[in-house]
Amino acid sequence: MLCRTANDLYWASRHMERAENTARLIDVTLRIAQLPERYDRGKAEAAPWRRALEALGMAQAVRARYGGIDAETVLQHLLLAADNPSSIYNCLRAAREAARAQRVAITAEMYEDLNTSWLDMRGNSWARIHGEGISNLLEWVKSRSASFRGVTIGTLGRGEGYHFLQLGAFIERADWAIRLLDIAGSEDAEGGDGQDAIDYFRWSALLQSLSAFETYRRLYRESVSAARVAELMLLQETNPRSLATCTQTLHQVLQTLAGGQPLEAVRRAGALAAQSRYARIDEVLATGLEAWLQDAMGRLIRLGEEIHRQFMVSTDLAAPLPAQQNQGAG
């Protein structure tokens, strides 16, 4: 498979996964922002929206671009902004462009699916989103992502192309497992009588946005707590969006691609998978969740770089230009 093809497929699915997770992030933030002000003193300053942007590393850029942060600007920035390369609008566009460039490597149904998503998204406007309700749009984004995933699983042969689509989707999803936890967990509002209610509300909002509330209940049969949610998001192998599930999938896919060769990317993915597989939540919390998350994020980013270096560039292959012989016909 061409390096360029591998790269495009990786980014097509990565962008779809990013669009879906951005929709889930907006969903959880909308829910948290519904907390009455007496529980969240930051509410007046749009603290939930600021926290969401901070988790994405976008707070500064948005402040500079719009002169401040409020619900409206964050929504615009994350949904439609043409100058935010990770807005849902741009994600759908990038996914469709990458698929268009690689129509040969995917099935017609996969391209048609992404093309349909993009054509619908292209016709969207802020006024229309307001009119139809933001949650309708968020549901639509999630269902478009699910559709692409389903068509991919259901129609594409299990060759290299499939593996690179998997890599893109799972590295992105692993990234969001860490970020979403960060958003709901960071900067707890100050204690007092309401603390339990706030915790409950935030963590259950997160679970609901991930469609993981029922899983949580079945698994733990106890009230929602920070430690349990962290465990579910990071270490639970039965949760399809947990860091453990994502990194194990990455490890398996890379092993398949390596075909027995001792690639650095396989080693890194294996180490990361082991880290979430064999960790225990009480140990993680004892050494500090924040530090653990930062370490995992760093390793994930380096894994992404290694995948890119191994499969998607071929710098050392470029042939030297032959000696000058410009007899050309202009």
């Binding site: 498979m1 061409l2 390096c3 360029r4 591998a6 566009r93 469709r96 462009e97 268009r100 460039a101 129509r103 040969v104 017609a108 391209y111 048609e112 093309n115 349909t116 993009w118 054509l119 292209r122 290299e160 691609l257 499969f311 998607m312 071929s314 292959l317 470029a318 042939a319 230009l321 032959p322 000058q324 012989q325 410009n326 007899q327 050309g328 016909a329 202009g330």
Partner: protein, 472 residues
């Protein structure tokens, strides 16, 4: 109502025999149902992304080439004649190319003016003396045919460089078979679906000598190109890699693709980029689309390019008038297909006649393509004619003129219902060890009333083309 030969109706207004089945369907199908099918076709083409992008427009602005539900139908006997003519013509053109880059017998005999070939900007001196595999220069050819008032077919032009449009031929057929399956059951319509298979076959046959299992790739300028859909479509249908220049490199005069598993040899390149852009070290140095060193590998016989560089001299409009002479010279046969009578403005008599009759003639730039650089006298204002006169006088060698043919018409769905619109036909011919003429081809239709320009960049549409088999 435009005059000209009506493909569906005879002079008395009766439906021609080969259109009976279709006419019956048309008459017995309620209008709303037809309307629904037309809409269905449009939605499907959009969803599948069968579009062409227009340069300079933003992404996602790819346009749809309008598809018309009324097929162009060619009776069996008529097609047999066309097929023989196309085979003959493409055979002769390949022999001509092999000759002008080789012994140049036809020039020595004085049958084609030497300077017209050797000083032609499409003549690639770099190709002189190169023996191409199997002597095939134009592997894929598209010959544009039109039908004049008497129903007689004429060759309007030859396309031997990178003729496009075949994906529309295939998709139009798929669409018709889906929308009106009953018509395919009721009559024998020659299939076109084998095209990608035949293309792969002739490309593999063209591999450099000694390669058992050649690797074929389609070379595209990239997804911004107007025909990108077709490049991707053909690569997919053939099951070969679709590459851009940057995906390939040359080492030790061999071509490799950059893959996730390291370099992989490529033996045959179906290139959909023009000669000029193939190799910046030989042709245009500013080209970013090509592959440095590609021409060296080609000259060394380590890779085959299809079509070969330099085929443009065979389809140049200034060379076109000599194709009948080529057929007589190389094949000792009389041409089966007619040329449109052509005035060569590099000749004094022809120039004088043309300048006196600009309002009646079609004048074309010899290197022009896509319907640009062309004057349609009867449709032009006197200011346009005068402006064109000045251009001709500045460089008469650059122009040819032809009588304005009243192209045949075919009923076509337009806003006001069914109305006759002018059409042409581009059959596709594949040359390998044998010559494959694909039955039918791409019918293009000028959607504006009275317009004779069928190019998609100028608002043309397409129709499915049915060649009937058997007695019909």
């Amino acid at each position: 109502m435009p005059n000209g030969f009506d493909e569906m109706h005879d002079r008395g207004g009766g439906v021609r025999t080969h259109y009976h089945a279709f006419d019956h369907w048309l008459q017995s199908t309620p209008e709303p149902q037809i309307e629904r099918k037309r809409r269905e076709a449009e939605i499907a083409f959009h969803r599948v992304g069968i579009t062409f992008s227009v340069y300079g427009e933003e992404s996602g602005n790819e346009r749809l080439i309008p598809f018309d539900l009324v097929p162009r139908i060619v009776p069996a006997a008529e097609w047999r004649q066309l097929e023989a003519g196309l085979r003959q013509r493409v055979h002769a053109l390949n022999l001509f190319l092999d000759d002008v880059y080789g012994e140049q017998r036809i020039l020595r005999e004085g049958l084609v003016p030497r300077e017209l070939v050797l000083h032609n900007s499409e003549y690639r001196r770099e190709m002189c003396g190169i023996r191409v595999p199997g002597g095939t220069w134009s592997h894929v050819s598209g010959i544009d045919l039109v039908r004049a008032g008497d129903g007689e077919y004429y060759v309007l032009e030859d396309n031997l460089r990178v003729p496009s449009g075949v994906s529309y031929m295939l998709e139009n057929r798929r669409m018709m078979a889906r929308l009106i399956p009953e018509l395919f059951n009721r009559q024998q319509i020659a299939p076109v679906e084998r095209y990608p298979d035949a293309l792969l076959e002739i490309l593999r046959e063209a591999a450099p000598a000694g390669i058992d299992n050649p690797v074929v790739a389609v070379l595209t300028p990239g997804s911004a190109n107007s025909a990108y859909f077709e490049h991707a479509f053909l690569a997919q249908q053939m099951g070969v890699e679709l590459v851009e220049g940057a995906d390939l490199f040359v080492r030790d005069a061999a071509v490799y693709a950059r893959t996730t598993r390291g370099p992989q040899r490529v033996h045959v390149i179906y290139r959909r980029i023009n000669d000029d852009y193939l190799d910046p070290t030989v042709f245009r140095p500013d080209s970013l689309l090509g592959v440095p060193g590609l021409f060296d590998a080609y000259r060394a016989g380590r890779v085959t390019l299809a079509n070969a560089p330099g085929t443009g001299v065979g389809d140049d409009k200034s060379v076109y008038p000599y194709v009948p002479a080529m057929i007589r010279f190389y094949l000792s046969e009389e041409p089966i297909l007619h040329n449109v009578p052509t005035y060569q403005l590099r000749r004094e008599d022809d120039l004088r006649y043309t300048l006196e009759h600009l309002a009646e003639l079609v004048v074309k730039e010899v290197h022009g393509a896509g319907g640009y650089g062309m004057l349609v006298g009867p449709a032009a204002s006197s200011a346009e004619i005068e402006a064109f006169r000045a251009r001709i006088l500045a460089a008469p060698d650059n122009y040819i003129a032809q009588p304005t043919l009243s192209l045949s018409t075919c009923p076509t769905f337009v806003e006001s219902g069914l109305a006759p619109r002018h059409i042409d036909l581009r059959p596709y011919i594949l040359c390998g060890r044998r010559i494959h003429v694909i039955p039918g081809g791409l019918t293009r239709v000028a959607l504006r009333e009275g317009s004779l320009v069928v190019n998609s960049s100028q608002g043309g549409g397409t129709k499915d083309t049915w060649v009937l088999e058997g007695g019909a």
